[in-house]
């Protein structure tokens, strides 16, 4: 299946043509978000990356479907409610 991956800020890839922040990827049929991250060689530490599929936050076990829009967004670490709400 084909999915579109959007890389934010420091996750962008340096290429000879410039910074790459959007790429199409082909994944095997029963792929999860975790599989995709492994393919991209991205290992999120704790909550250091917000994982967003079709506009909703998910975790690495999220199964993916054809046409999914995936955003990988470096974020504040620490998910406890009272740590939230810091930063613009």
């Amino acid at each position: 299946m084909r999915v579109t991956v959007h890389l934010h800020t420091v996750l962008q890839r340096k290429t000879p043509e410039g910074m790459l922040r959007q790429l199409e990827m082909m994944l095997p049929p029963a792929g999860t978000l975790g599989d995709l991250l492994r393919t991209l060689d991205i290992t999120p530490q704790g909550d250091a990356i917000l994982l967003v599929v079709n506009g909703r936050q998910v975790d690495v076990t999220q199964p993916l479907s054809e046409g999914d829009e995936i955003h990988l967004i470096p974020a504040l670490s620490g998910g406890a409610p009272h740590h939230a709400g810091l930063a613009d």
Partner: protein, 571 residues
């Protein structure tokens, strides 16, 4: 430290000891305490009984990275409730060097006397207060006025000033402060405090800290150790590099990804032009253009995050400094404009006029909905801003913000709460921030409790009640400390550093819950002021249409229950 009390009518300065009940506060909490103690909550905001408070934070004064912020407070002419507007820059540091716990400006200056223009400059130094005519800077935009004031008073001073917007007493007027490079770029923007300063006939306040020194430390060694830990944690935090390289504009693609980027007067949460106004795109542009452009820039001395920027044109000359996320949202996607240069020019106009770019951007969005401009027409948007500078009736209407504009032009869809325009997070797409807009004593204010980075389903209203509550408490705490919200990166790695710093500076023995204690107390004081000003639960509500009109792309409505909203401050 002392309280500097200036009676503008008498043109006098009294330096007073700090009352016990004020001593444990700084910044936003101190401003709330003073306003509750001294300002009748039912007073006329532009009248003589309102007071304008400048209060540096509890940690301000030692060039701790990202912790020298300033709170400006008063009763707001925009919300008619309590208002705190927060700014970085150098004013806070100048105040603490002069031993100012707070500056309280009372009454108003006379329209005549030494002044021909009716405008004054207040010059504060360790030798006292001087009240001088502002005839050569009255009516000038903020940039020209700053140049003249620096030439007159020297390049080492701090300055807080208003632009033509504040002189016109427009409800969207803010108060600008110099950054560490002496640009008037750090605005205490929200809620019309520039109009309050204008009503007092004060064009500028000059803080001359010659002969001053940093506040003393109860335990210098312990402070140094805590400072070292804090700086290290901030530098090493993964988010710091992101903010250093991309700044707040990094939020564009993030908020767009969630379907919460206000687009065309908050009619959608996703903008097809987001790519060309994004932080990633901006960094490429600035690096390519060089010249005066800087993708990273510190607003306060010693800040290691340096999230600000200088946005330059193709000719290498600066167009505006800084160009921040909120402006990109409210003057970019909210106006359907996908062009950073156009947004930068609108930003410069707002800055030079001394107006809150969020409020003006929202007003322009409402004006576009009314047909006064087409969405996407940056040139027409600039024309409308020139009406403000020319003080035409339409200009004055726009200058009073989105709510006034909507009322006059007959637009129902006005994105505001308590009369203050929402920021660049659509409340139906990011319901936690929406909940903050609705319940915060400040009105629709994102810095009062932004939830966009929380690990939560942003479309789940119930789950976001606690998130908003926690965010509001923390933000009020940071605002009382004088810490930038981004100092949270360093603090959250080792939260005990906050109490270590306070105890080392003041000789206190506060515990690790001090941030939340300060935050809760501040919010309680603010809520009480608003209650006495006549606010009720009916004021803690989202605009009616946002409960029923679904927002693309998720087709979400704002569906937090009244019961949950009214329980926000039950702790």
């Amino acid at each position: 430290m002392e309280v500097w009390r200036v009676n503008l009518a008498e043109q006098s300065l009294k330096r007073e000891p700090v009352p016990e009940s004020w001593s444990r506060f700084g910044g936003r909490g101190l401003s709330a305490r003073i306003l509750l103690d001294e300002v009748p909550p039912t007073c006329e905001p532009l009248g003589p009984h309102n007071k304008l408070i400048f209060a540096p934070g509890l940690l301000t004064g030692h060039v701790l990275t990202s912790c020298d912020r300033l709170s400006v407070g008063a009763k707001s002419p925009l919300t008619r409730g309590i208002k705190e507007a927060n700014a970085g820059g150098s004013t806070g540091l100048h105040m603490t060097n002069m031993g100012m716990k707070a500056l309280i400006l009372e009454k108003e200056l006379p329209a005549n006397g030494k002044t021909k223009s009716g405008w004054w400059v207040l010059h504060l130094s360790l030798t006292g207060a001087r009240f001088e005519p502002a005839d050569d800077v009255a009516g000038l935009g903020v940039h020209d006025a700053t140049e003249k004031l620096l030439a007159r008073y020297g390049k080492k001073v701090g300055i807080a000033l208003i632009g033509p917007g504040g002189e016109m007493r427009l409800s969207a007027a803010g108060i600008q402060n110099l950054d560490k490079d002496n640009l008037p770029s750090r605005m205490a923007g929200r809620g019309g405090l520039g109009a309050v300063m204008g009503a007092k006939r004060l064009k500028a306040i000059v803080f001359d800290d010659a002969g001053g020194k940093k506040p003393s430390l109860a335990n210098a060694e312990a402070f140094k150790a805590a400072q070292k830990k804090f700086t290290k944690n901030t530098l090493e935090h993964p988010q710091t590099k992101g903010f250093h390289d991309y700044g707040t504009p990094a939020m564009v693609r993030m908020t767009n990804a969630f379907g919460g980027l206000p687009t065309r007067n908050f009619s959608s949460g996703v903008f097809e032009g987001a790519e060309t106004i994004s932080g990633e795109f901006m960094r490429e542009v600035l690096l390519k253009r060089g010249g005066e452009s800087e993708p990273s820039h510190a607003c306060m001395a010693g800040c290691v995050i340096q999230c600000s920027n200088v946005y330059g044109g193709e000719d290498g000359k600066a167009i505006v400094a800084p160009l921040e996320y909120e402006t990109i949202g409210l003057m970019g996607s909210n106006l359907g404009i996908p062009d950073l240069d156009a947004v930068a020019r609108l930003n410069w106009e707002a800055s030079d006029l001394g107006l809150d770019a969020i409020e003006i951007g929202a007003a322009l969005g409402v004006a576009a909905e009314a047909g006064l401009m087409k969405f996407g027409d940056g040139t027409r948007a600039l024309e409308l801003m020139r009406e403000i500078r020319q003080a035409t009736p339409l200009g004055r209407i726009l200058g009073h913000g989105a709510t006034m504009t909507g009322r006059v032009l007959g637009v129902l869809r006005v994105p505001a709460v308590k009369g203050q325009a929402m920021a660049a997070y659509e409340p139906r797409g990011i319901k936690g921030t929406g909940t903050t807009y609705v319940t915060s004593p400040q009105g629709a204010d994102h810095t009062a409790g932004n939830t966009v980075r929380a690990k939560v389903d942003h479309l789940d209203a119930k789950a976001n009640i606690a998130i908003s509550r926690g965010a509001q408490i923390n933000s009020a705490g940071f605002d009382t400390l004088g810490a930038c919200l981004f100092a949270g990166f360093g603090f959250m790695t080792a939260p005990e550093v906050i109490s270590e710093l306070l105890n080392a500076r003041y000789g206190w023995q506060v515990g690790t819950d001090i941030l939340q204690l300060l935050g809760k107390e501040t919010l309680t004081l603010e809520r009480e002021f608003n209650r006495r000003a006549g606010f009720t639960a009916a004021d803690d509500r989202i605009p009616e249409y946002m409960r029923t009109e679904p927002l693309p792309p998720h087709n979400a409505v704002f569906d937090a229950t009244d019961e949950d909203l009214d329980g926000m401050f039950n702790w």
